[in-house]
């Protein structure tokens, strides 16, 4: 690939030939570009060295403290921790009160403080020999840092809150004494449904809150999208997992998946109410489809599930997977978002490869599946292309009218 300078020189050469710029302007632009590149290079080098140095110092301090951990008194550890916790937040607030424009530094300090809360729980547990497998530590962490995420409108603390929340749900959902524990033995389906519905809620709220500057939900599009693709991929193998359904052990609860479904439903509803751009419609349809699938899975898992039902769920999830991937490509092309196009292409590639290895068997079986899969892909491609053309045509008509 040609360097930026080479491309710039070629472009300026062509511009000179066309008479757009003269020789002096060409030279001035090239020297400006070179000066900027040098400055950028210096900045990059200094920031890389600075980052490495900071990391090395931090690692060194951690190791020195760790090697003397038993010699440090409990009160010293507690005081040090409280000082760090308050110090991190106080430094950031002080900088803000002074009108500092170092937003990344302030955000990092708050992020450090939010992470330290969990470290504090671990420290107290270690000092006072406390033990609990209920996940309550993560629940406390979530409750403590969520208000910070909302007040600071911090993307990083929002993501940390999501991690804390999911850790709490997983650990508490599998804790035998929890009244909200996932139903056994099919806690797998309940956890899958929880994930699906949560992802739907996150993605829906995030897409439609994107234009609202102060909304925290817009930061949750990437993690929500990741969870969505991940659970759809896993559900693609549901034909192997359906036999875990039909709980015979009492005591399990459907509270967590049910609440997640309500959250997902809220997201979809919010999406339909705030949908000003028509191109989002198909996204909402797919998201509604995934939510519908999660509700069906939850109901079917309450009783012993048939093989046919397991296979049908897997098949529906494949269709939704490919549909979602196509939508990413289509929407990414419209918006000229390379990242989204790449995600869509990767999704289709991964889907085809996975299904090939998953379904390989007899010639007749594999052939049938490939024919069906091909028909689904062709139909989806045709429908999406038709939809894309209709939108472009409508845009052109409306721009002519203006």
């Amino acid at each position: 690939m040609a360097s930026f300078h080479k491309k710039l020189e070629d472009l300026l050469g062509a511009a000179m030939e066309e008479g757009i710029v003269d020789g002096s302007a060409r030279d001035a632009i090239i020297s400006l570009s070179q000066a900027r590149e040098r400055k950028k290079g210096l900045l990059s080098l200094s920031s890389v060295l600075g980052g490495l140095g900071g990391f090395a110092v931090m690692l060194g301090v951690i190791l020195v403290i760790s090697s003397n951990w038993q010699q440090i008194s409990d009160w010293m550890k507690i005081s040090g921790f409280l000082l760090l916790l308050v110090g991190a937040h106080a430094s950031a607030l002080f900088m803000r009160s002074r009108g500092s424009d170092k937003h990344k530094t302030m955000d990092s300090l708050h992020f450090l403080g939010a992470g330290l809360f969990l470290a504090g729980i671990g420290l107290i547990a270690q000092i006072y020999q406390l033990s609990s497998d209920s996940g309550m530590a993560y629940g406390l962490w979530f409750v403590a840092i969520l208000p910070l995420a909302l007040l600071l409108r911090s993307a990083s603390i929002t993501l940390m809150s999501l991690v804390a929340f999911m850790l709490f749900i997983y650990i508490n959902g599998h804790y035998e004494a929890s009244i909200f524990r996932f139903p056994t033995p099919d806690s797998f389906t309940a956890a899958l449904v929880f994930n699906m519905a949560l992802a739907i809620g996150l993605v829906s709220f995030a897409i439609f809150a994107r234009d609202k500057e102060h909304s925290m939900m817009r930061h949750l599009l990437i993690p929500g999208g990741f969870i969505l693709f991940f659970v759809l991929y896993i559900t693609g193998f549901y034909n192997e997992a359906y036999q875990w359904s039909g709980s015979t052990v009492t005591g399990g609860s459907y509270v967590y998946p049910a609440v997640a479904i309500l959250f997902g439903l809220g997201g979809i509803g919010y999406g339909f109410m705030n949908m000003q751009k028509e191109r989002y419609f198909q996204f909402l349809v797919v998201l509604s489809g995934v939510l519908g699938l999660s509700v069906i899975m939850l109901f079917l898992s309450m009783e012993k599930m048939s093989y046919t039902a397991g296979v049908a769920i897997a098949l529906i999830s494949w269709v939704l997977w490919f549909w979602l991937s196509f939508l990413c490509i289509s929407y990414g092309s419209f918006q000229q978002q390379k990242g989204l196009v790449n995600i869509g292409v990767a999704g289709i590639g991964l889907g085809v490869m996975t299904r090939f290895f998953d379904l390989i068997g007899s010639m007749l079986g594999t052939g049938t599946v490939f024919i069906l899969g091909g028909v689904v892909l062709l139909t989806l491609g045709w429908a999406l292309e038709k939809w894309r053309r209709s939108i472009i045509a409508r845009w052109e008509r409306s721009s002519h009218a203006v």
Binding site: W69, Q70, D74, I78, F81, L82, L85, V86, H89, A90, L93, R96, S97, H110, G113, F117, G120, I124, Q126, I127, Y128, Q129, L130, S131, S132, D133, A144, P147, L148, L151, L152, E176, A177, S178, I179, R181, G251
Partner: protein, 182 residues
């Protein structure tokens, strides 16, 4: 205003930790705690993922025993009455009385007795499932430089507060204090 609220949140977090420490230090207790020693039973070794700690299990951590003759799990004497009514997650009370150097369980119940015979101790736990009970005293953190002792030789000194909360205070190996307590 928003940043004042952030400062309030941070202050709240600090007070949470200070309150927790005060609670663990026993500063909020009206009466002095009781210190009792109990026997342990061998279980799985330490878990490296969660740091260096040993897993502690006690005579009152399980509610049944395998009977070789009948080939069935039979509830232990001290839990026989309560076991049929217990549900996972339910709060239970374990009652112990002194027997030689250690305290041994004589009853597990879902109800707290208002009065205890002199010298006896009771503390709170939770019925988990499959005859298991947890009391929040199942881990003991210790330095990386030490080897885990043989659990057959281990007894544990528990600190039991007047509110019925038990904490591990010290570990004894063959009757000698292994590490100093809090």
């Amino acid at each position: 205003m928003r940043y004042k609220l952030v400062a309030c949140m941070v202050a709240l977090q600090m007070f949470f930790f200070l309150g927790w420490i005060a609670f663990e230090q026993g500063l909020l207790d009206i009466e002095a705690p009781a210190y009792i020693r109990v026997r342990t039973v061998p279980v799985d070794p330490r878990d490296y993922l969660s740091g260096q700690y040993m897993v502690l299990s006690y005579e009152f951590s399980v509610g049944s025993r395998w009977n070789e003759e009948t080939k069935t799990m039979e509830p232990l004497e001290f839990v026989k009455q309560a076991m049929p009514q217990l549900k996972p997650g339910q709060v239970v009370w374990v009652y112990l009385h002194p027997s030689g150097d250690v305290y041994v369980p004589y009853r597990i119940s879902s109800e707290k007795s208002e009065s205890l015979p002199v010298g006896n101790v009771a503390f709170r736990g939770r019925y988990i499932n499959y005859n298991r009970f947890e009391y929040g005293i199942e881990k003991y953190f210790f330095p990386e430089t030490l080897q885990q002792p043989d659990m057959k030789d281990v007894t544990v000194e528990l600190k039991v507060t007047s509110r019925g909360i038990a904490r591990v205070n010290r570990i004894f190996v063959q009757g000698n204090a292994w590490l100093k307590g809090n």
